[in-house]
Symmetry: C2
Subunit: 413 residues, 2 copies
């Protein structure tokens, strides 16, 4: 907010306020919105009329409010009015999901991409094709407004939100993925963002918790492990990307500065203790990994954990200690209210917790009220897709005036 402000900005802000309230607290009357936002009845009426004009909000019947008096006319989000497309790039596939502001899924796809190492162009073509398909689905719906396309993938993304600084798994460096994809889509009429997968997963988990628990902490950290170790920081409800898009890369927190060498160039990184390869190796599954791949080894590790194999449980307990060290680092630096575990850290939380607690016990004993709560993420493997959709949702809720009015400006029939 370094720019000059005028009354239009006030309008934007207050429209967003009303829309956010209606989106968050289900169908509700104008009076309730006024009470919740602090705006005056007259203002809420005008702002709601604006939102209705954009097709974002509609009146949905009346509800007599207990005693006598005029019944309140409830407002709610119009399903399917604003849709976003999210794409997640994993090692082998592209996952696609399109959903509206309420989270109703309009389109879902999963395709293999067979991207060659070192050349982002074929993957960009696949992404563009899938965006086109999803866009066609959205366009077929009457009055659906495509707000944004969001591509999530591993690797730091620079602040401006389009260049992947280093995608180790794909052998790229400083690749403007947005430009590559947009080159295939000259007619795309909405913004396209590239984001870090773990960062948006953190955002999704943050909102999932905020929606069920009442209070939302000022900061939340997310640590996940699946094919890699990553994470994200949500500060004040927003993703903290950092100067180079590296923020939240918890996989490379050094938990032992004289530890084993990490491919990143440093020593003793967290990923060297809880990453899939070191973890399965520590559980004595190196041979399984060599034969069946990492996924097979992880599945076998899961079986052995549930069977009570001591070598497996010991490996998890040791890994837990490194997670505990990372949590202490996070606690001291960022001081989040909660640390959320994702991926197999959530699945195997029961076996990790003893190690985490052991490392944190000392400090907790001194000041238990100052340490973050460690909780399991509630979203499964789709956390990233949901998070990518969430970034679009937040952008729309922040500035609803980007959604066109339904009267004349869209004469497309």
């Amino acid at each position: 907010m370094n720019n000059p402000t005028d009354t239009a900005a006030v309008r934007r802000h207050n429209v967003a306020l009303v829309l956010r309230e209606i989106a968050a607290h289900g169908p509700c009357a104008r009076t309730e919105v006024a009470a919740a936002t602090g705006l005056v009845h007259a203002s809420v009426s005008a702002l709601a009329a604006d939102l209705i004009g954009r097709g974002l909000v509609a009146e949905v019947g009346s509800a007599s409010s207990g005693g006598r008096g005029r019944p309140r006319r409830l407002l709610r989000l119009v399903p399917g009015r604003v849709v976003a497309i999210a794409l997640q790039v994993t090692l082998e596939r592209v996952e696609v999901m399109a959903a509206d502001l309420a989270g109703a899924v309009a389109h879902r796809a999963s395709v293999p991409h067979r991207a060659p190492f070192g050349d982002p162009e074929p993957l960009a073509a696949v992404l563009a094709r899938e965006i086109g398909r999803a866009e066609a689905v959205v366009r077929a719906r009457r009055d659906a407004h495509l707000a944004r396309v969001v591509i999530a993938m591993a690797g730091p993304v620079t602040g401006s939100g389009h260049t992947v600084a280093a995608a180790i798994d794909f052998g790229w460096s400083r690749t403007d993925l947005r430009a590559l994809v947009l080159a295939h889509l000259p007619d795309l009429a909405c913004p396209l963002d590239v984001v870090n997968d773990a960062n948006v997963a953190a955002l999704a988990e943050f909102h999932a918790r905020a929606e069920q628990g009442g209070e939302l902490p000022c900061a939340v950290a997310y640590i996940k492990a699946d094919t890699g170790v990553g994470g994200g920081l949500v500060v004040g409800g927003r993703i903290h990307t950092g100067t180079h898009g590296m923020a939240g890369e918890v996989g490379h927190i050094p938990v032992a500065f004289d530890g084993p060498d990490c491919p990143c160039g440093a020593r003793g990184c967290l990923a060297m203790y809880v990453g899939p390869e070191p973890l399965t190796a520590a559980a004595g599954l190196a041979d399984v990994a060599a034969r069946d791949g990492v996924d097979g080894a992880l599945a076998e590790l899961d079986r052995r954990l549930r069977a009570g194999d001591p070598r497996a449980t010991d490996a998890l307990a040791f890994a837990g200690r490194s997670v505990g060290a990372a949590v202490l680092a996070i606690s001291g630096l960022v001081d989040p209210g909660e640390v959320i575990l994702g991926g197999y850290l959530a699945t195997w939380a029961a076996w990790l917790t003893p190690g985490i607690d052991a490392v944190m016990a000392g400090r907790r004993a001194g000041a238990p009220h100052l340490e973050p709560a460690i909780v399991r993420g509630m979203l499964g493997p789709d956390a990233t897709l949901h998070g990518a959709l969430r970034t679009s949702r937040e952008a729309t809720l922040d500035d609803a005036t980007t959604v066109p009015t339904l009267d004349k400006p869209t004469p497309a029939g």
Copy 2:
């Protein structure tokens, strides 16, 4: 910004914008302010008139701008109009400084406090007495407006900004220092804040760099060591306090999770490697420390470093490695554009850098553009006092309408 916005908020924002511009870029004309802020000439005139009415800004002569034409009338901050009082609590003394928005010092004091362990009340009395003295100095000045009193001390301060959660050095816990001090000052007519000393020092160093370098990074981390190891995070120009006021406590980042026990309850904390006791001990000065205290040992260490004593330089090189590990953790988590060293880390940066670089070399080799620059702080031991003043300054610049107009509202003679 979750509250409804009205035109008054627009005014606040734009007044702040103009004031900030005048404060930052010296005496400048309305035209220049308009160009820099994006506001229209007419608006700048009105806003400047408001600021002049509050006595914050004054016209200071004309300056012909090159060629012909009406000369521009320059605006500048009125010295001494808005004054803040900062107090820093150290182990043995209370340091006091009062200064105006431009940083001109109006009052300076340093008194021993002899605070007993476990009882905050005597210290609160000393603080209240010193605030009263500083206030009297401010009040004696014609038209000086006391904006804020800020108390900086070690220990996490909760977000609401008044309770010290744990002051280890003084043996307090969850102490509402603000209430204790205000009880002695029933007539204090301005807000009183309690802040973490290292956090505000980080803010001061951030602004010191921002003022000389043009671009300010989106995030900056600060690490200092003197009587203790601490730090701060500045994100988006603001101090990130965290959920419990613990953010930036870099002294307790674990750099080796099987390292030596730390009084905080954890193991391998950074403070166990670069803190004054471990550092002097590693340099073979344990006996000096026992005889002359920590300060004596640090002075001796400084002499030996400059004399080239290999044991001293080796100790610093080793400590540097732990700092490097902490920087890697900070880089991965927060991804600041710069890491600023303070205290004796700045003084002895030349001996620490080899160790830091050794730890960071590996990752820098892979992606040099993604690692933060490590720089020495420019402010000396007064960084904390300047930072405390800076928090007040930022609050005033954010909302200049808190400064009363000079006409009638202040009939005090």
